[in-house]
Symmetry: none
Amino acid sequence: MSGEAGPADAAKTGADAGAAPLTERGARTRARIVAAAREVFEERGFLDTRVAHITRHAKVAYGSFYTYFPSKEAVFLEVADRLFQEMTQHDLLPAAGPSPAARVRRANRGYYEAYRRNAKMMAIIEQVATFNVEFQELRRKHRAGAIGRSAKAIERWQRAGLVDPGIDAEMAARALAAMVDHSLYLWLVQGEDAPDTQRLLDTLDDLTIRALGLQA
Amino acid sequence: MSGEAGPADAAKTGADAGAAPLTERGARTRARIVAAAREVFEERGFLDTRVAHITRHAKVAYGSFYTYFPSKEAVFLEVADRLFQEMTQHDLLPAAGPSPAARVRRANRGYYEAYRRNAKMMAIIEQVATFNVEFQELRRKHRAGAIGRSAKAIERWQRAGLVDPGIDAEMAARALAAMVDHSLYLWLVQGEDAPDTQRLLDTLDDLTIRALGLQA
Amino acid sequence: MSGEAGPADAAKTGADAGAAPLTERGARTRARIVAAAREVFEERGFLDTRVAHITRHAKVAYGSFYTYFPSKEAVFLEVADRLFQEMTQHDLLPAAGPSPAARVRRANRGYYEAYRRNAKMMAIIEQVATFNVEFQELRRKHRAGAIGRSAKAIERWQRAGLVDPGIDAEMAARALAAMVDHSLYLWLVQGEDAPDTQRLLDTLDDLTIRALGLQA
Amino acid sequence: MSGEAGPADAAKTGADAGAAPLTERGARTRARIVAAAREVFEERGFLDTRVAHITRHAKVAYGSFYTYFPSKEAVFLEVADRLFQEMTQHDLLPAAGPSPAARVRRANRGYYEAYRRNAKMMAIIEQVATFNVEFQELRRKHRAGAIGRSAKAIERWQRAGLVDPGIDAEMAARALAAMVDHSLYLWLVQGEDAPDTQRLLDTLDDLTIRALGLQA
DNA sequence: AATGAATGAGTGTTCATTCAT
DNA sequence: TATGAATGAACACTCATTCAT
């Protein structure tokens, strides 16, 4: 899914998929719809979004939506897929570089920034994940990719003697990702009231580093 | 909210709330509806549950539902409120007792067991939390209570020299709760494929203990 | 299907079926809808009938239609089933009685009268039979019943030496029924221009009698 | 209508008719569409055929359809008109030749073969005849031609003393045509379950011959 | 209280036809 | 001619809530 992606790839994601546009004009219309969809989803959530909202926002005819997408779910899948790709850019860290602790901090900050930028969509994504199986799958794949990369890093650190080999690298990667993810969700999406952002981020870094036993 | 709760309390929670039953017979009908609601919600999720499903399951007339609840949301709030109370029984741990690490393990296991028992409802709760503001508030309150108790424990351990005072107790309580909560959610609700439960639970304990710097 | 029939029976016919009414009032509403449906179908054909037409005609709310029927097809099936029953009353001829030729004439006239009375619905029935498989089945059953009775009569006449035993009783019953049926269809429904009704009916009798070799 | 017919003639049939192609290339495109239309109609029926199905099948652009036909109905009329012509070739029997009974049998077999070859289209034709007035007219004309020829033959036989003059030649021609037509329809289109084809055809011949009182 | 019928606004999707290129 | 994108009216069906008995 990630990678080249684009309309054609996303089409496989959506059910029957409206054909990919063959002309320049079609490509523009399609892009307008995707952009409008994202904005409307952010504004109203998935459930309260009507296809009419999207087309009105995109200034295209109602029917044009179905020229490019077979359903509301289908556009959502595409919008979300793009988002996931952006969200996971950050963890493509250079293998070499600063200390592990510094890299953990950098990764967390990068993720935080991306999350904050996309907080509204992240809210909708969580919403759709609670009832759309197809979407759960898309999300699971992205998560698996990110966690795999984390686990690899932890294993490398274990071999380098920087992390206790007694830690279960894969499960730790999962658990720590869940910690960061859900903390940001509660904080940025559900509006959990916490003193301030800096303390939250510092604590996430801190706990991660301590849990892995890295040199701060 | 937690504590005695019951219909009267829940009634304040739900918008207008259906009249509390005055007769013995009414109380029984109401209870039948609540029980049926929980089962149907678990079976189909909130969005796909119809009032008719609930009344059919409860073997009461369609109209009877509205004798006791003003809306579908209202029963859900009551069902969820009861669940939250059960879920947070576990952390009413005795302040004294075994070592902190042992207490962390016990609390985690207790929460895991409760989560597993109620996994289906936890899924629905996450669903409703993504769009119902009123419900988000109910959940926030419960979470705040649980986190407050955790934070208190950490502070106690810090005062006892068992935990590094450099740790932000409240934020740590939040972050660790998010880790456990979301890991269980992904594992038990979204069906994330992980090798096995024991490794997951062990890692959650392990990371918590290491992050707090407790004596294993 | 034929026989006791009624809502309950018809419900099995329709897909998921809207519940049979439990109260007197419900029964009345349901009956109003069925009657209105027939009138609207006759007026506009199946394809051009909108559920809204039916409910408007029956003076009930749009939604009430779906209280009793799961779909437009379902009411149609019930209307048609009733019609088939009426249409096949005529051939419940007394086994004994006048001469075979007289009985052929009487049966044909009876069928003609019924057809004429219900010509509009017969048109719609033919329409639906061209695309609805479920309905084709219902119709096939009714036809099979009627043809079986005809075949039985022919066999009786063959045993009585009134009809040449060289005739294939069952196939003859089919072919002759097709002749009468389709002639009436073309005449009464498709408005085929023929000189006059009397000549058509006389010819149908005449050919049937001659084909079977009955004493006129 | 029958005879040379072709695009130009059919154009008069269809409402506004798409322009007849002026270029060689246009003629080819048009032909591709007509051929594709027939195949798609056979496959899915008139109602379930989409213009897009036809153009896709013909490998022409969606818009090209409307270059040649003003509507879905218009292509159908042309396809049907061609079919009718083929179907009625068979009864262009030489007036002289074998015995009347033999000619009846030959005509029936010829019609049967044609019907079987075109059974799918015959089904669609029946479908369209139930709602499209314009098409009913086209069909009526063809039927009138065929029946006229039959009636002529019967009258000839009456003058030759081979058929009882008491028979109403025209009505008999109609009724017997209806018998054959509808029997084949029920058998070949609606899939009526009858023992076997031979018995059906033999009975149709047999009854026709007996009804007319021909020498077998 | 209990029952179940009545209500009707709301919405995703289809598809023939028109049009710009 | 050919292409394929654009259009938008049309419609079946749902379901929370209200009401009459």
